[in-house]
């Protein structure tokens, strides 16, 4: 293995210097030089915008021989509160770590995050915590930098993150910078113990086809998982370490700034956290008819959800949308009214414990996954439900 700087291409910009986890690079006479001790991790190669650094040999796929160990989970937080996705991932991560006989760690970035020790209760052996006021808003340039630095330092073999808005934007950047594979929206994660590979299963073509994917020759193997796909464990009395890691600022300053945040206040019961959801589809007919579902929801203490057509029509805001391009929910009870059950909608709710479907069309696909189905006019059935429940 060899590493060299091409003097024709190198302009001495110095971007490679902070990228090296071992601090081995310096600029001398307008060119970069790499000192003794290089592990050929390739971080400087990626940092160089001029393709001036070349590593002499591409690492051969050595899945059992490589030295990356450990399962990591990105524990996403928002405004100081850890998200449920973190605990869900820890549950799955715990399972994977046991199978691999290795450690499970959580990585947490932010400022003044509450109850970090909960991550241990939910399964983590270690928690790497980077606390800085600059990370309070989840500034993605900075978060990516921290994650990349930590991963290069500790070399986990697997990194999991939630396929949240932040996850789907931030984690690909980390994967690109690390030059490793990332599989999005996984619904299944297993281990091939023989090859020590993570088997990542995900839906494609709107959920019509499932694909199983591996990342054989790059580390860490990265995957994002939709919230509510895995269920979190019960918190336990466990031992673990919280390791405070230093906040590293990139040589390239973060250029993106958050100016303001406007919360969508139309939801009364938050959809993702609701135990019961009453959802409506095209069968509702018009915006006003959602009042009927709101009434049922209020009697049940439920949240109101929607398939895509009502949102497209403008009958209610996007924050209520459940499905492929909306939210994934996993309530105890999901009541689908006037929803046909197109696969894009099912993708967002099929893991609900109990599904009730009310639809006039006996052939509607929703009946195939409903626990209980009523074939009938929702404008008759729903009032009856409301009447009976009062």
């Amino acid at each position: 293995m060899s590493i060299k700087i091409d003097p024709e291409k190198c302009i001495g910009c110095g971007n490679c210097i902070p990228a090296c986890p071992f601090g081995l690079i310096e600029i001398d006479r307008g060119l970069a030089w790499i000192k003794e001790g290089c592990t050929f991790c390739g971080a400087c190669v990626d940092a160089c915008g001029y393709y001036a650094i070349e590593i002499g040999e591409i690492p051969a796929p050595t899945p059992t021989g490589d030295s990356h160990r450990g399962v990591w989970v990105f524990a996403e937080q928002r405004q100081g509160n850890l998200k449920n996705a973190a605990y869900e991932l820890l549950a799955k991560g715990r399972e994977l770590a046991e199978t691999l006989q290795t450690e499970l760690s959580a990585v947490c970035l932010g400022h003044n995050i509450k109850d970090v020790s909960q991550l241990i209760a939910y399964g983590a052996d270690k928690v790497y915590l980077v606390d800085s006021p600059e990370l309070a808003d989840n500034q993605e340039d900075l978060c990516a930098g921290q994650l990349v630095a930590l991963i290069r330092e500790h070399q986990p073999e697997i990194m999991l993150a939630g396929a949240t808005a932040l996850g789907r934007s931030l984690i690909p950047r980390v994967a690109a910078r690390l030059h490793t594979g990332l599989t999005a929206d996984c619904t299944g994660l297993e281990i091939d113990t023989e090859k020590r590979l993570l088997l990542q299963t995900r839906p494609t073509f709107g959920g019509n086809i499932m694909a199983t994917i591996i990342c054989p020759a790059h580390r860490p193997q990265m995957a994002t998982v939709r919230p509510r796909v895995f269920k979190k464990n019960r918190p336990q009395n466990r031992q673990g370490q919280i390791i405070k890691a230093d906040f590293k600022r990139e040589a390239v300053t973060a250029k993106t700034r958050l100016l303001s945040f406007v919360e969508d206040l139309t939801e009364t019961v938050k959809l993702e956290d609701a135990d019961i959801i009453v959802a409506g589809g095209r069968g509702l007919g018009k915006a006003e008819n959602f009042k009927l579902l709101e009434e049922l929801a209020s009697v049940l203490g439920a949240a109101v959800g929607s398939s895509r057509p009502p949102v497209d029509e403008g009958w209610l805001p996007y924050s209520h949308q459940v499905g492929q391009t909306g939210k994934t929910v996993c309530p105890k009870l999901y009541i689908a009214c006037g929803i046909s059950g197109a696969i894009q909608h099912l993708a967002g709710m099929q893991t609900s414990d109990v599904i009730v479907a009310i639809n006039e069309d006996p052939n509607a696909p929703i009946f195939e996954i409903a626990t209980y189905g009523i074939v009938g006019d929702l404008f008759q059935v729903v009032p009856m439900l409301i009447e009976n429940l009062k």
């Binding site: 934007s169 931030l170 959920g207 993106t256 492929q324 996954i369 189905g373």
Partner: protein
Amino acid sequence: MNVVVCLKQVPGTTEVKIDPQTNTLIRQGIKNIINPFDTYALEEGVRLKEKHSGRVTVITMGPPQAEEALREAISLGADEAVLLSDHAFAGADTWATAYTLSLAVRKLGADIIICGRQTLDGDTGQVGPELAEMLKLPFIAYVSQIEEIAEGHIRVRRMIEEGHEVMETTLPAVITVVKEINVPRLPSLRGIARSKSAPIPVWDAATLGAAKDKIGLAGSCTRVIKVFFPKRVSRGEKLEGDLKSQVEKLINKLKEANLI
């Protein structure tokens, strides 16, 4: 204002079937379209050009037939198009795709690069951010409105689960857009005429100076090892009786299960 829009040609429907013998998609009889999210990206690019004067170039990495998608983009207002096509690009995962696109973007030069939020077929949403990373440019996802754009600076509104954020960054930058951002126009007759005769250069790996080990299957970090239909668990118990008794039965069952 130099705008580059990345688009992908995808099958027109997600109702696809797998050939059980070869484990590959049966694509016959399905029309190809521009990935719907990319039409919003293109529309936004064309609007920027109309407002701030400049040029919109669309690029796509794909087989020769992807040229149709580029021509359609021209009929929708794009000024120029480039097809990135080479056998060596085939089998690329998002990393290798982003790498290939990044070479083209560098060659073209851009003030802003616009991508759709995700594709109909892959749905990963990864190419946009990975592209930004390779270009070492700022990145903002889920843009629902460009509030202000000027020399070297952009301010946008973007959607997240809890609501929306207003963010600003420097240009050049990469953004992905959501469908709330605009209503894409229909093609125009003059656009259609132009799209028929527009020259569309094809850039292969050599033209892009692509590193062999970073493109296509060779450059992909991930590999698909299996493809299958999801199991549909049939639970379907349809209740019986007249509507009134069905409703009563349902409520009883839900009460028994301690759900209500």
